[in-house]
């Protein structure tokens, strides 16, 4: 029943996005409101007044408050916006209108808002209808207008869809609002794999092993997760379909660890040591070996692919200490990327393709760094004097980095911008959390 409702809602949402075409017809020009490549990004001031309850019922008022707050928070999470305090408003949004012809934009430019989001919410029989609009207050221009309809329980989903539209309009990328983060938590008493939404909401336990589960990795269609588990006594590789729970196990002797999916393919790389030496192999999604990728005495571990899947970065101890290398998969040529420090591990290739984030050890501390894939400029240190910071993972749009940190004692998952600003804890669960892995952008599980 719930599933039926859910599918129906999605259908409604999708069809509803066609609306307001006339109103938004004059705003087809793309604006670079937010330059995502600028490290010194100025936050865009935006006003998100509480949505207007269309019929004025108590239920509507409550949901309007909830929805507009969620919208503010979700936009703020991206690091692109400065949400203007509602106490600073010059007008009572409940009394003003929500469509362009009736908005006096001077009331918004007057408090510094460059963008404005208005909303109207109508509730009937547990079904909500929301009209949401994004305006450029200086140009008196409607940038995005959408209508959503669905059961009350799907309000969060509807708001996030609108956030996705807003970000797409302003940055040209789809953003993170449909993404999830997989991670390892000891909340159950053992290390198990968990999932949560991009903002840390709705954590759910995925594995229920009474052993150790580590290193979750998403397939690029977000339908599969590969991870390492000791549930049969040694580190084996599990490849699991998220919905059907079917899949494969790679349980060769030695270690079967650190999976990474090839972008766009049902194929993954992982470190196996059945030969007596840890090497990276390319595997099918069903766990069969396609080929050996590295061939070097010593440790080769933690592969990560460039978004075009032509190159693979990985950690190797071939020079005597763990460093990050890049392999051209066609020619097999390997180039060392990191030269600063004696311990650089956990590489993660940015979805934009230009950078690799990693964990580097120096002065007894582990910090997160980013380095351009050509290795031309020195690495940029993103965390400082805040415990050990490990396992960086990029948001699907490349704007944020999630990582684990011991800055408050137990290891927890944190998020920051790709430039290291706005570091904050993603979620607080009992026990410790490690190994975050951000899903691809489009996920509907």
């Amino acid at each position: 029943m719930l599933k039926k409702n859910y599918t129906k809602t999605i259908f409604i949402c999708l069809t509803a996005t066609l609306f307001l075409l006339i109103e938004s017809a004059h705003c087809q020009t793309e604006y670079d409101y937010i330059d995502i490549n600028n490290p010194f990004i100025r936050k865009v001031p935006i006003a998100v007044p509480i949505f207007k309850p269309t019929s004025g019922s108590e239920g509507e008022k409550f949901l309007s408050q909830e929805a507009s707050n969620l919208l503010s928070k979700s936009l703020e999470f991206t690091g692109y916006f400065k949400i203007i305090d509602r106490n600073a408003y010059l007008v009572d949004p409940e009394k003003s209108d929500i469509i362009v012809s009736n908005i006096n934009f001077k009331n918004w430019t007057g408090i510094g808002a460059e963008l404005l989001i208005t909303g109207g919410l109508f509730l009937k029989d547990n079904i909500i209808e929301m009209e949401l609009r994004l305006y450029d207050t200086f140009k008196d221009l409607l940038l995005v207008g959408k209508r959503y309809k669905g059961v009350v329980n799907n309000q969060r989903k509807m708001i996030h869809r609108f956030c996705g539209e807003v970000i797409y309009k302003l940055t040209g990328t789809r953003g993170i609002f449909y993404s999830k983060i997989a991670f390892v938590s000891t909340s159950s008493g053992n290390k198990n794999i968990y999932l949560c939404e991009f903002d840390g909401h709705n954590p759910e336990q995925l594995t229920y092993d009474k052993s150790i589960a580590l290193s979750p990795a998403w397939s690029s269609d977000a339908k599969w997760i590969a991870y390492t588990s000791y549930s049969k006594g040694k580190p084996d590789l599990y490849i699991k379909h998220l919905k059907d729970k079917h899949g494969a196990i790679v349980a060769k002797k030695g270690i079967n660890i650190t999976p990474a999916w090839v972008p766009g393919k049902f194929s993954l790389a992982a470190t196996l040591s059945f030969s007596g030496d840890p090497e990276i192999y390319l595997l099918t999604g069903t766990g069969k070996i396609i080929k050996k990728l590295t061939n070097n005495w010593g440790i080769d571990v933690s592969p990560t692919f460039s978004p075009d899947s032509n190159k693979m970065a990985f950690v190797s101890s071939r020079s005597g200490s763990p460093q990050i290398y890049i392999m051209d998969l066609e020619s097999g040529q390997v180039k060392r990327l990191t030269f600063q420090g004696r311990y650089n591990t956990c590489p993660s290739w940015s979805p934009r393709g230009d950078k690799i984030a990693y964990s580097g050890m120096g002065n007894g501390q582990i910090n997160i760094y980013t380095i351009d894939v050509e290795g031309k400029s020195p690495a940029l240190q993103l965390t400082h004097d805040s415990g050990n910071n490990e396992s960086p993972t990029w948001s699907p749009d490349g704007s944020l980095i999630a990582f684990s940190s011991t800055r408050e004692g137990p290891s927890r998952i944190y998020v920051m911008t790709a430039y290291g600003t706005e570091q904050r804890c993603l979620l607080a669960l009992p026990g410790e959390q490690i190994n975050p892995e951000w899903s691809p952008g489009v996920i509907d599980n």
């Binding site: 030695g254 270690i255 311990y343 007894g364 396992s391």
Partner: protein, 200 residues
């Protein structure tokens, strides 16, 4: 006169009577003496016999004791031997080898320990062993899993070189997941960077 005669008569009667009695008594005494002598001899014989019996029994007891003692000695020896076997097994299980940070080469101390382990494995050809490696918490868990694999492999290869069949040796890398000492300082890190040997 009559009185004198009466006394004489009485005497005549009494004296032989007395005589008879005394002779009789004499004869009885004689018989008694012989009887006593016989009894004594029997007694002595019996005593001797019983002493001999006791001696015999003592001898048996002694023999038994000696036998028992001998048996006990064997048991003790056996116990000691068993104890030695158990001690050797425990030593095999409890003696770890240790590594330097981010290194998987075997230090001289570790090699000595492994030589003892190889000897034990040669003396116990039926036993197989799991070599578990553990790292300290420093470094990242993915790299530590691979490092642990290399360390367990180092010990395995060393034992193979000493003639132990590869089929008897399995490795499991735990990375930093199971520290022996969960504290966060130099001593516990050194304690945690170890290969442990578990008899299957």
């Amino acid at each position: 006169m009559k009185k004198k005669l009466r006394i004489c008569l009485a005497l005549l009667l009494v004296i032989p009577g007395l005589l008879i009695v005394t002779s009789c008594a004499k004869r009885a005494v004689k018989a008694d003496l012989a009887q006593t002598q016989e009894d004594e001899a029997a007694k002595l014989a019996a005593e001797k016999a019983s002493q001999e019996e006791i001696a015999r029994q003592r001898a048996i007891d002694e023999e038994n004791l000696q036998e028992e003692a001998a048996r006990g000695k064997i048991i003790l020896q056996e116990g000691a031997a068993r104890g030695k076997i158990i001690a050797a097994r425990n030593l095999f299980m409890n003696e770890n080898i240790y590594f330097d940070f981010d290194m998987s080469n075997l230090k001289p101390e570790a090699q000595e320990v492994l030589k003892r382990k190889a000897e034990w494995l040669r003396n116990n050809p039926g036993e197989s062993v799991i070599i578990e490696n553990h790292c300290d918490e420093r470094g990242t868990n993915e790299y530590n899993l691979a490092l642990g694999d290399r360390r367990a492999q180092s010990a395995k290869n060393f034992l193979i070189d000493l003639g132990i069949a590869e089929s008897r040796l399995t490795t499991i890398s735990y990375g930093e997941e199971r520290p022996a000492d969960p504290r966060h300082h130099r001593e516990s890190w050194a304690e945690n960077r170890r290969d442990q040997f578990v008899i299957e």
